[in-house]
């Protein structure tokens, strides 16, 4: 297994507050890696480290053998994309324009819109089912449509790796599944995905590589079938539960016991 994206002994901190100390993580190529863990376990911080949003105070993040944080920003952006948790759609921007902004790292002062850009945007909108929306204003879309547009923007960036920061938060269950299926399709087509998710069962169903974190450290990682156990969930979340096999997908399914069933 090769891992062109990996973190070596990184320490991530906000000011003087250390969130993650000396953590290493190799993201297997072509995997759908999902990071889970309780609030404040450092999973989003880790993703920010991978996304160049937070520079490690020690250690390095390597992409194809080069230090990610010393690459030129545009060069890094051609290899590694991010779907941020919160982005701002400028007032009055249309869907096609927003998706087109994903082409920024491939453009320069003289080539502001090439045939490649056009193709990438058309395909990204096609893949996310947003082609019919293309001349609509982003402000007018529903939450689920809007998130698809942001995904399309990240896809238009045409990167081998795509980071997803809690991509399904604030969506209803149908749109969540919809989006997870879209990511699964992307993964099948060869993109390496790294996501931070809150929903354990979605993580167990869609991940090919699951990483469980607590208190800024990795507790377990591997195939979800091996990682998700009653002991692990209790150890990571302090949540007593039962784990059964999902009758639909054959992946582990976590059923919290709650106080009464104890």
């Amino acid at each position: 297994m090769t891992a062109s994206l990996n973190a070596r002994d990184i320490t991530l901190a906000y000011g003087d507050t250390r969130i993650i100390s000396n953590l290493s993580l190799a993201v297997p190529d072509k995997s759908f890696t999902i990071i889970i863990g309780p609030n404040a376990c450092g999973k989003s911080t880790l993703l920010r480290g991978f996304a160049r949003l937070l520079r490690p105070s020690t250690g390095t993040v390597l992409l194809d053998g080069a230090d990610l944080h010393s690459l030129k920003p545009k060069e890094a952006a051609r290899k590694l994309g991010l779907l941020p948790q919160s982005s701002i759609a400028p007032d009055g921007i249309t869907v096609a324009d927003l998706v087109g902004r994903g082409r920024f790292p491939h453009q320069n002062a003289l080539r502001t819109w090439s045939r490649d850009d056009e193709r990438a945007v058309a395909e990204a909108m096609d893949a996310t089912g947003t082609t019919e929306l293309s001349s609509r204003l982003v402000d007018e879309l529903s939450g689920g449509q809007r998130q698809r547009v942001w995904v399309a923007m990240a896809l238009a960036q045409r990167t081998g790796h795509l980071l997803l920061d809690e991509p399904t938060t604030f969506l209803d269950i149908a749109h969540q599944i919809d989006l997870m299926e879209l990511f699964a399709d992307l993964h099948r087509e060869g993109t390496t995905l790294v996501a931070v998710l809150h929903d354990l069962n979605h993580a167990a169903r869609y991940a090919t590589h699951l990483v469980a974190m607590r208190d800024g450290a990795i507790v377990a990682q591997g195939d979800p079938r091996d990682v998700i156990t009653e002991q692990l969930v209790e150890a990571v979340y302090d949540l007593p539960c039962r784990v059964i096999t999902d009758p639909v997908s054959g992946t582990p399914l976590v059923l919290p016991l709650g106080r009464r069933a104890k």
Binding site: L53, P73, I88, A96, D97, L110, A122
Partner: protein, 364 residues
């Protein structure tokens, strides 16, 4: 130019088969090195603005103590053998004023576009944060208190006063987060404080001095000549070239720091560059002409509506809009006999009111 024309021709049909529907018409330029989409609407708007600037500029050269009609202005500009007296009035006295109007308008509008894009807020313009009042105070201080009446000292006074006030307002309004409400109120407070200092100075000196300072402090380009135009134009050109990359990076930064970083932009560096260029542009105009208010606020907004753009940052249409606004305002100012800044603040204030009315009526 010849390459462009050829490709424009070849693109009219390609617009039809364009695979991405942007909801507007484009001209495509697609050559080995240059490839871009130019919205048809923006081109038409820019062309119309150029016409407005030229016509209003020529018209404003007819206005003044010495009567010159439109035909004579045209003759003076285009025919070297016309009446030398008229040529002197038009070319040496009035032309620099019009060119200054173009320059000031373009520079202020670009600065406004930069600041509005940076703050994602139409009110993030230098006018709201007390630049004008600060500049006026600086000029008054220089001219009356220190009695330094040369052009350079007035310029320095305007510049330092404006910058200092703007920084003060930013610093006072910035406690962890920057709310626009706080920014406006702090702007009002600091402006009122400085305003009363200015008034104090004005009422404690002779009428002549007070009126001179008040006129300059209101923003005037009437007395400027080629001597001041050349250095201002050179500085403007340098800053303009330096700020060109912002045309592409700032709209991306509008989507938030995280998204911008993911797309290969360093938010910190881009913001710093934007601030430096924005301040430099405002400073340039303030130093040359005193505070010309509300162009920085209004021009990007007007241009954005004219071109139906999704960002206040769009170098060409924004600068042309600003230039057109100041040239027209200057013509009005000449007719009425007031400094151009007085016209822009009146019209700009009304425009802002209209803008707010439209915005409020639409939502919230």
């Amino acid at each position: 130019m010849s390459i462009d024309e050829r490709s424009v021709e070849s693109t009219v049909e390609s617009t039809v088969e364009s695979t991405v529907d942007f909801g507007r018409r484009h001209w495509r330029i697609d050559t080995a090195r240059v490839s871009t989409l130019i919205p048809v609407r923006s081109v038409l708007v820019c062309a119309a603005l150029v016409v407005v600037i030229i016509v209003a500029g020529l018209a404003s050269m007819t206005i003044g103590a010495y009567d010159v009609n439109f035909a004579a202005v045209l003759g003076a500009v285009f025919d070297p053998s016309s009446d030398p007296d008229v040529r002197q009035v038009v070319l040496e006295w009035r032309l620099p004023r019009v060119l200054f109007a173009v320059l000031c308008g373009a520079a202020l509008a670009l600065a406004g576009g930069i600041f509005q894009s940076l703050t994602r807020n139409p009110l993030g313009s230098p006018d709201i944060i007390g630049f004008g009042v600060g500049a006026q105070f600086g000029v008054t201080l220089m001219m009356i208190v220190f009695e330094l009446n040369t052009y350079m000292f007035k310029a320095i006074g305007a510049l330092v006063g404006g910058l200092f006030t703007a920084l003060l307002v930013y610093a006072l309004a910035n406690s962890k987060t920057m709310s626009s409400f706080r920014l406006i109120i702090v702007g009002i407070g600091v402006s009122a404080g400085l305003g009363s200092l200015t008034s104090w100075i004005l009422i404690s000196v002779s009428l002549e001095k007070a009126m001179m300072a008040a006129t300059w402090g209101a923003g005037s380009i009437a007395s400027l000549g080629f001597d001041q135009l050349l250095p201002a134009a050179i500085v403007f050109a340098v800053v303009l070239v330096g700020s060109l990359p912002l045309n592409r990076t700032l709209p991306v930064l509008e989507m938030g720091d995280d998204a911008a970083t993911a797309l290969g932009i360093s938010p910190g560096r881009t913001r710093l560059a934007a601030m430096v260029f924005g301040v430099a542009l405002v400073a340039l105009v303030t130093a040359a002409a005193g505070p010309i208010s509300f162009i920085a606020l209004a021009a990007p907004q007007i241009s954005q509506r004219l071109t139906r753009s999704n960002t206040p940052m769009g170098t060409a249409p924004v600068m042309l809009t600003g230039a057109a606004l100041v040239v027209v305002s200057d013509a009005v100012a000449q007719l009425v006999g007031v400094p151009v800044g007085v016209v822009t603040v009146s019209v700009g204030g009304l425009y802002l009111a209209w803008l707010l009315a439209a915005q409020y009526a639409r939502r919230a």
